[in-house]
Symmetry: C4
Subunit: 267 residues, 4 copies
């Protein structure tokens, strides 16, 4: 392994050294700037005024990302594995749109792909203490995934039936032009978003809508309850890890120095 490869490895992959931290921070700023430019480019008034500056900035960022991508491929032990990994794909997608735009004209759709650069931020954050906290949330969500699936499926059924009923009750003249539109309305209502672009106008429709809202109000409790129960369980488990050497009691507080049950000193 070449010394320069090893040094680059430290800079790019290690987050504990000073230079590694500096690299992570710089990359974070470049990514956020890049997202900002994508946004600004989409605002007509700004795009018209600063078109050239945005173009140049986009190319500078693309070149930085390209170099980083090539260096990564060069220094990792298993380049193929990296290229086809989740972050490898994101890294490629971060630079590809700019090059493709050279070949194909009028490719607005590439903008979304450029916005995906934001996902690169997660790699940087992965390396610090947010990792542990997000792990708790993700674990709670993962362990409650069956309950949440059941809930979502129930909501889906409810929404389809409500949407069909409202389509028949209100009809096309009040904005419910089809069942999918009725379902869209049911989702908007049940989730308490309530745009008001479609809203019931007949008395029966308003009565049914009121009932749907109250149901939505009640069932929002379910996912909250599921996640909370899961998080509470974990946060309670979190406190209990040490075992008393004398009486083998578990479940001591984090800051406990002596055993609750027999008074033996804990280590």
């Amino acid at each position: 392994m070449l010394p320069i490869r090893q040094r680059l490895y430290e800079v790019i992959f290690e987050a504990d050294t000073k230079i590694g931290k500096f690299f992570d921070l710089s990359l974070l700023i470049v990514i956020l700037l890049s997202i900002l430019f994508v946004m600004l480019e989409s605002v007509p008034s700004i795009e018209n005024k600063y078109h050239d500056i945005l173009k140049i900035a986009e190319w500078i960022i693309t070149i930085i990302f390209s170099i980083e991508y090539i260096v990564r491929i060069w220094i990792v032990r298993h380049p193929r594995k990296y290229i086809f990994s989740f972050y490898g794909m994101i890294d490629l997608l971060s630079v590809l749109p700019s090059y493709l735009a050279l070949v194909f004209a009028g490719t607005q759709g590439l903008m979304v792909i450029r916005a995906l650069r934001l996902l690169r931020v997660f790699r940087i954050l992965k390396l610090n203490r947010y990792l542990k906290e997000s792990a708790v949330i993700i674990r709670a969500l993962r362990e409650s995934r069956y309950k949440i699936s059941v809930f979502l499926f129930g909501v889906l059924t409810l929404v389809i039936i409500i949407g069909t009923v409202m389509y028949l009750v209100e009809g096309a003249e009040h904005g419910f032009t089809s069942i999918p539109r009725g379902i869209y309305w049911a989702v908007v209502t049940l989730t308490t978003v309530g745009y008001g672009d479609i809203s019931p106008e007949t008395s029966v429709g308003q009565f049914l809508a009121s009932m749907v809202m109250i149901i939505g109000y009640a069932i929002i409790a379910v996912p909250t309850g599921i996640v909370t129960a899961e998080l509470t369980k974990h946060s309670q488990k979190e406190t209990s890890s040490r075992v008393c050497p004398e009486c083998l009691t578990e479940g001591h507080n984090h800051d406990a120095k002596y055993c609750n049950e027999c008074g033996t000193k804990l280590n």
Copy 2:
């Protein structure tokens, strides 16, 4: 019992065999397709273009469901019991609308009945591991049904009084044309849906509305708290997995030393 009846029984009612699983999956797809066709039929532009294809697809599905219905009646031990059971009724309602549409013309209302086919999905899901999870949710909801009833009744009273007050404050010229409409507005507001089809325009009305919203914000905590407390209780009880060697009772507390039911020492 004929061998063919027995084999059909296995296919339709058992989910653990390979062919049983295949049958369940096929039925699931047919049901979902059937719902999709009902939706598409309601979209005018699609209905005009593909009227014939949708009609044929509907009849194919109706015939599949009809055969399935007849086979089920044939193979179950107590046909009468099946016919009048919840799923028996749903199965009948899944095929009836298509036949009725032959006799009666312009029967839009049958669409809702066809949408009820979706409920058939639950029978299929009943047979897998989602059952246990949904049981936890349903038990939590059932055990908190009195608390939720009290809550809903309180909300109802609040909504009627608020609706009446706002009807008097705002009046017909601002959209509050009657007390039921005021109540509709109160529900829309208290549940934080907020369509904006009716919204207060006087200063007093907007002040009252602000108070209603903050109340709604606070009381949304109540159903959530109820369900969460119930789910937390269960998820804590859930963790006890020991079985009494004498009476085989499950669900003992973690720290239990003797069986709750028969007093036998637990190990």
Copy 3:
């Protein structure tokens, strides 16, 4: 005490006897009907058509309530105390508007007072098992009243500052005609109601609004957390009431027959 007074007392105040239950149920129906009539009266199309029927129905109900009110005064031990009690006032307000409407014409405001009849329903419900459940909710709300006050005060401060800032940022031409209106908007947004009658139109305003919404999204967790923590505490206490006669251990499950700790039979 006259026998008739005693019998009337049983009918009106006791809910366990058969006639007492019948009286409660009848009263419940009359109250709900009376509310229904108040609502229907406010709908112009119904009022025009059935004016006379509604008038007669209103008078029948008023007379029933008047008789009930007089009988209650007659049979209670401390009439003065009853008259000035909460339910005594509600009972009086249930009949007063109709008599006042004879003297004064065009008294729309009396409608609200008539809607207060709904509160009478709570007296009837007080007598059954909903009492215990609502007690749990009310106790949880009462014990968290300081935390909720702090929360509401914080929300109020936030809303006033946000409303003032938005009034300056957006100005009268985008609907923010005054600070109170800005505060109204802030409440509508923070509580996630979102009518859309006033919505930010400048870029700065929309950026600030986005931040307000995300804050609102985060702080809705606070009241929910407060009430849930309180309800969880109670629901955990709820399970522990019996004490083992042998080892005096507390905290047995509701359905426990033998002590967890020593195996003694519980009574």
Copy 4:
């Protein structure tokens, strides 16, 4: 220290004496009145009618606050420290705008600064029992700040990607004129505010929007779960009120037999 300084100190800084309580209450009323006047001044119709009265009221309040500010500087032990403290700055900002308005004309922006007077209320409230309760909420929020940061960052990423996709799907003709506007829409939708000033109109857009709403419905559970888990933990710890006779440590678990800190037997 002069006797008058000492007496003023007692009046201003102590809340337990009768005169201290009276001072706090008076100050609270003056602050709230002052905020009310700022609000009323912004309402065109009131401002036009009562311009002079509001002007005079504003000056009376400014003079009261100025005197209070000077007295505070005079009596505190470290005037410099007070002046540059949070509340010192707020106190200065409470009087500055009125004096600045004498020099500079048309300074609408000073209104926000005047609204900051509301923050002074917290100093008064700090002195009573609300302190303890708000401490619990603040501690729960502080201890869950990493989890909430992770959550907010996840929401931000989601919102940027959704906003970009919707900008491309719906386009400028349906109100999604730029990516920032798409992000604004995504925040409005995900937080279930739903103004309806921008809403999807294409079928694909409405389908995506429905999915965003259901996601928003599910993830609202996360911050609630986080805060609730934190508050539950505290409220359970809170219940332990025994004190160790040796080391005077508080906050032992309910079932603790020996002190966590020094191992002494608890009674």
